[in-house]
């Protein structure tokens, strides 16, 4: 890789939390409205996001570009590392390997997920209002549901464990005690954010969204 790897690696670390970490939390909270408030709540959440000012700029500079840089540079970081969990079976060493494995899984999952949802909206195959029924369609298939659970867990682990590493890489948690406490907090983040996503997947696969999907289908048939 050309240039000074210190700056690219620092940027990689920063982008992973700001904006990508923030994005994953907001995404989780928006989806969770599907569980808490049903199809209308989810539709409202989507609408709130769509009513943000300069949305295309936010999407490009807040999501797509950071995601591409973090993902592609991350693949290079993963390529540069060995896994020696066989010889050194320490929890943190497992987390080191898991960070790289989940990174690669997340990379594939995010591309596929964006293709199934956002790109379909861009292509005009579905509208923002139909995203709930698209998700119902995906989550109703047991195979897709399982793949989504794997993808979501990988992404959230990568974020939570990355948050722990971010705090070290920027010199915020220094001593072993600070790092241990932050690891408990990050584990808590993993559990909570994972729960948000998995509960919303459960909601998407439920009857409420099926009816909403059928209603939407009728609408398109009428239209």
């Amino acid at each position: 890789m050309k240039g000074n790897s210190y700056f690219s690696r620092k940027l990689h670390s920063l982008l992973g939390i700001i904006p990508l970490g923030g994005f994953i939390v907001v995404h989780g909270l928006t989806n969770y409205q599907a569980f808490e408030r049903g199809p209308e709540g989810f539709a409202k959440g989507v609408e709130t996001i769509n009513s943000l000012p300069v949305l295309p700029l936010l999407e490009i500079f807040g999501i797509y570009l950071p995601l591409l840089f973090h993902g592609i540079y991350g693949l290079y970081v993963a390529y540069q590392s060995n896994s020696n969990t066989g010889r050194f079976q320490y929890g943190r060493n497992w987390a080191f390997t898991a960070q790289r494995v989940t990174g690669v899984i997340t990379f594939v999952f995010v591309f596929w997920h964006v293709y199934q949802t956002r790109i379909q909206v861009y292509l005009g195959n579905i509208t923002h209002e139909e995203l709930g029924s698209t998700m119902n369609h995906i989550a109703s298939s047991p195979l897709m549901f399982a793949l989504y659970v794997i993808g979501v867990l990988a992404a959230v682990f990568h974020f939570s464990n990355g948050l722990w590493a971010f705090l070290i890489s920027w010199g915020i948690t220094i001593g072993p005690r600070a790092q241990r406490i932050s690891s408990y907090i990050c584990m808590g983040v993993f559990v909570i954010v994972s729960a948000l996503f998995i509960l919303s997947l459960v909601a998407f696969s439920g009857d409420e969204f099926k009816e909403a999907a059928n209603a939407a289908l009728t609408w398109t048939n009428i239209g």
Partner: protein, 254 residues
């Protein structure tokens, strides 16, 4: 000679051998008579005296490096039963048998268990792990170091450049230019010194180049493996803090 009826206690070694730097490694088994208080070095000395493998065929003596024999020089570092450590402090009575000896392959293998740790010394040069006081006239006494600081800095000074932390680090390999944990901890040591502190930016800037501190992936194997118990991950995080501060100060022109 008449056969003795008592079974003699023996020690079994499985040694990874390599004839030249580019040759393919192979293993040989040795069975040595047990002596009380043996360590891996005395086992290797026994093989040197009588280089015969367990199946009775004569072979070349196994090559290894050692100096101090009291775990302060780091020369005899090797992988013993899967873990990198010093052979002198590896007591046979405390090891599971057969005892497997391998070189630390993170480094270029010269022969058998002998490795070339030059990259570690290059890393120390890169980060300027010394205190520049040479000049044309007497600079006089330097500032004193606070006792509280001296106590933790002394722990960092125990580093013997043995290479165990590099061997345990998953990011030190031939696809990665990471200098390894040892040199980063030395930056902390020399930057803590009241006279060394006067050149601290130079060392921080060396850490902020290719293969510097950003190579750490926080697997934290180093701190678990260090035979001297040096708080390597604390050193790395402290240097992360200092390099980050230095980065922003430089951007802001402070």
């Amino acid at each position: 000679m008449a056969e003795t009826t008592t079974a003699k206690k023996t020690v079994k070694f499985i040694v990874s051998r390599q004839d030249t730097p580019d040759a393919k490694p192979y293993t040989q088994e040795f069975e040595l008579p047990y002596r009380p208080n043996m360590n891996v070095i005395s086992g290797l000395m026994e093989i040197q005296r009588n280089p015969v493998t367990a199946d009775g065929s004569k072979t070349t003596p196994v090559c290894w490096e050692s100096n101090c024999l009291e775990e302060v020089c780091g020369a005899c570092s090797m992988v013993i039963n899967g873990k990198p450590r010093q052979a002198c402090s590896a007591l046979v009575d405390q090891l599971e048998q057969p005892i497997r000896l391998e070189p630390m392959r993170t480094f270029p293998v010269v022969r058998d268990l002998v490795i070339n740790r030059e990259r570690m010394f290059n890393a120390l040069k890169k980060v300027k792990a010394w205190i520049p006081i040479d000049g044309t006239y007497d600079l006089g006494p330097g500032p004193r170091m606070a006792e509280t600081k001296r106590q933790w800095a002394y722990e960092l000074s125990k580093c013997m450049t043995c290479g165990v932390c590099l061997e345990s680090c998953p990011n030190v390999n031939d696809r990665n230019s990471f200098i390894g944990p040892a040199a980063i901890s030395q930056v902390r040591l020399f930057n803590a010194h009241p006279t060394g502190e006067m050149n601290k930016e130079e060392r921080l800037e060396a850490l902020m180049t290719d293969g510097g501190i950003e190579g750490c992936g926080n697997s934290q194997n180093c701190v678990r493996s260090c035979p001297k118990g040096i708080p390597l991950t604390t050193s790395i995080a402290a240097m992360n803090k200092d390099t980050t501060k230095h980065l922003f100060k430089k951007w802001l022109g402070m």
